[in-house]
């Protein structure tokens, strides 16, 4: 793709998500869709982090741990210390990044299924910690978290006070989409810079990478920190919208879903997790009518998709292009 067509695609995406979708929702009066689409955007951010760990050749089933961690950090800062939410958002991300460095240093030495298993356990550890720690208020969780206040820069109101808004759902949706776009722009740049090539060198052969002087351990930890930062941002934002957080807000199911989102969209495509999250979320909702069969049909379709399209749904597009 040339740079002009890239710019055009990006603008088209922004137009659709920021203008067309709100307009459609207003026309069809399906205001509930705001919550769904906001969730998709935030879950896509966390999935993007998982995608990045795939990019260095690690299967990450622990992203829910960092989403939960980010959520709690933000909630505790807002509720207990009265810190403005918009300040807690980056703090939550940073907290997760630092925590993931400490966790990652020992566990990133593991490869393949061993790393995957440890990250899976990590999700459960995070839940148990949330139950046990005094600051998290145990199983009762933190509820009635105040909505984010306004934020101003040089006297200009960037984000209004949510409590005063007639339609906070629209604002949450717009902010979440913008946050998602910023995160994915960052990921896109990473993948297309030399850093991305270095990540690929790790994915393809860690021994060879270290033989040519790549500091494999350092790069792995840096990437894992970025990945967890995305998990923390997504989690913190999610909590602000639902105004509550419990130890069960993000569980192993979420960790697995984050991973499935990446598989579904395609591990080779940086925007894959967005598509994957969107389809998985809506696919699950659409199957709601099938009642008890919901999970059976859902998982069968997923298995079939992975067999037919092992490189994800976005590989369809490339296939057609290379043929035509």
């Amino acid at each position: 793709m040339s740079s002009t067509s890239k710019l055009f695609s990006a603008l088209a995406f922004l137009l659709v998500t920021l203008v067309a979708v709100p307009w459609l929702i207003t026309v069809t009066r399906r205001l509930d869709l705001y919550y769904t689409l906001t969730s998709v955007a935030l879950l896509a951010i966390a999935s993007g982090g998982v995608w990045l760990t795939f990019y260095i050749g690690r299967i990450n089933i622990g992203q829910a741990a960092f989403a939960l961690m980010g959520g709690y950090v933000s909630a505790i800062l807002v509720v207990t210390y009265g810190v403005p939410f918009w300040l807690t958002l980056p703090l939550a991300g940073l907290f997760c990044a630092v925590a993931s460095i400490l966790i990652g240093l020992p566990i990133l030495r593991l490869r393949g299924v061993y790393f995957a298993m440890v990250t899976l356990v990590l999700t459960e550890v995070a839940r148990l910690l949330a139950l046990a720690l005094p600051v998290t208020n145990g199983a009762k969780g933190l509820v009635n978290i105040p909505l984010p206040g306004s934020t101003t820069l040089f006297g200009v109101t960037l984000i209004p006070d949510f409590a005063t808004l007639a339609n906070p759902r629209l604002t949450f949706y717009l902010i979440s989409v913008v946050l998602m776009v910023i995160c994915y722009a960052g990921l896109y740049r990473l993948v297309h810079s030399r850093v991305g090539r270095l990540c690929l060198s790790l994915q393809q052969n860690e021994e060879l990478a270290s033989s040519i002087g790549v500091n494999v351990a350092y790069l792995r930890v840096v990437i894992y920190a970025v990945s967890s930062l995305l998990g923390g941002l997504g989690g913190a934002m999610f909590v602000a919208i639902s105004q509550s957080i419990y130890p069960s807000s993000f569980t192993i199911t979420d960790s697995i879903n984050f991973m499935l989102n990446c598989f579904l969209g395609g591990l080779g495509y940086v925007f894959g997790p967005i598509l994957g999250t969107f389809l998985l979320y809506f696919g699950w909702d659409l199957l709601f009518q099938t009642g008890r069969l919901q999970l059976l049909i859902f998982s069968s379709v997923l298995i079939a998709l992975m067999l037919i399209l092992p490189n994800g749904l976005l590989s369809l597009r490339l296939f057609r292009r290379s043929k035509g």
Partner: protein, 259 residues
């Protein structure tokens, strides 16, 4: 000539098995030194010890007088001791040129953040890596296939790509892991030319190899291992006359050790 790489009293044990036992020798600046030996003699283990991909049980490896054994491979590579792998070890998902460009990491002046934000240092680095990669590819006769996916390369080209990756690191000593294995006569002769060319670039070469005629032709000196121990060291002519070496290879056709 100075000793560049000193291997002293190196021993490696795997459980009860002594793979390398009390081996000492030196690699001199500018030479091509080959390690040979029958199957299971401990060549590969010695190779991994020398490049610090394995930690010795006893003994040490020194580069320019400084101990390098026990350091991480990327640190040893930074000092100037770089190994290549056997042919399938390349970055399979990249093109030939991308493989060589990424291998310039040791010459990187910019940090990860610099590359991310395309700082001026990073852009200078990347332009330089591209130029240097093209020069190396031309030197090894790979410029015609530089944009091919690396997985599609035939045998001989894969080996050359492995050497290209090694050269991109600008090594002082290049350790080659069986550079002639599985090649026919013509391919071997081309590979021999490449290794000689690498030496002409001022790179000292240490190689592990099975192919006796090629080793005899290319080496300045040879170290012979058998059952993990060094049984001989000398020029190709000396090695061919050495009684212990002939005994070690007993049962093997004379022709195969080039006598």
């Amino acid at each position: 000539m100075d000793d560049l790489l000193q291997i002293s009293r190196l021993t490696k044990q795997f459980g009860g098995l002594v793979a390398v036992s009390d081996v000492s020798f030196s690699v001199r600046e500018g030479e091509i030194l080959s390690i040979i030996g029958p199957n299971g003699a401990g060549k590969s283990t010695l190779f991994k010890l020398a490049s610090s991909f394995l930690r010795p049980t006893a003994g040490e490896v020194r580069f320019r007088g400084e101990r390098i054994s026990g350091l991480a491979p990327h640190v040893v590579a930074r000092r100037g001791v770089v190994r290549t792998f056997q042919e399938t070890t390349i970055f399979k998902g990249m093109t030939v040129r991308e493989n060589v460009i990424i291998a310039h990491q040791l010459r990187a002046n910019a940090s990860l953040l610099g590359y991310y934000f395309a700082s001026s240092v990073a852009r200078r680095d990347e332009a330089e890596f591209g130029r240097s990669a093209d020069e190396i590819l031309a030197f090894l006769g790979l410029d015609g296939i530089r944009n091919d996916p690396a997985v599609t390369l035939p045998h001989g080209h894969l080996r050359a790509l492995g050497i290209a990756i090694g050269l991109a690191t600008n090594p002082t000593v290049l350790l080659l892991d069986e550079p002639f294995a599985g090649m026919n006569h013509d391919e071997t002769m081309r590979a021999v030319e490449i290794v000689l060319g690498v030496r002409r670039r001022g790179v000292t070469v240490l190689l592990v190899e099975h192919d006796m005629p090629a080793v005899m032709q290319i080496s300045d000196r040879i170290v012979v291992l058998n059952f993990g121990e060094k049984i001989a060291e000398g020029t190709p002519a000396e090695i061919q006359q050495n009684q212990k070496v002939i005994e070690a290879y007993l049962g093997v056709e004379d022709e195969s050790i080039g006598i």
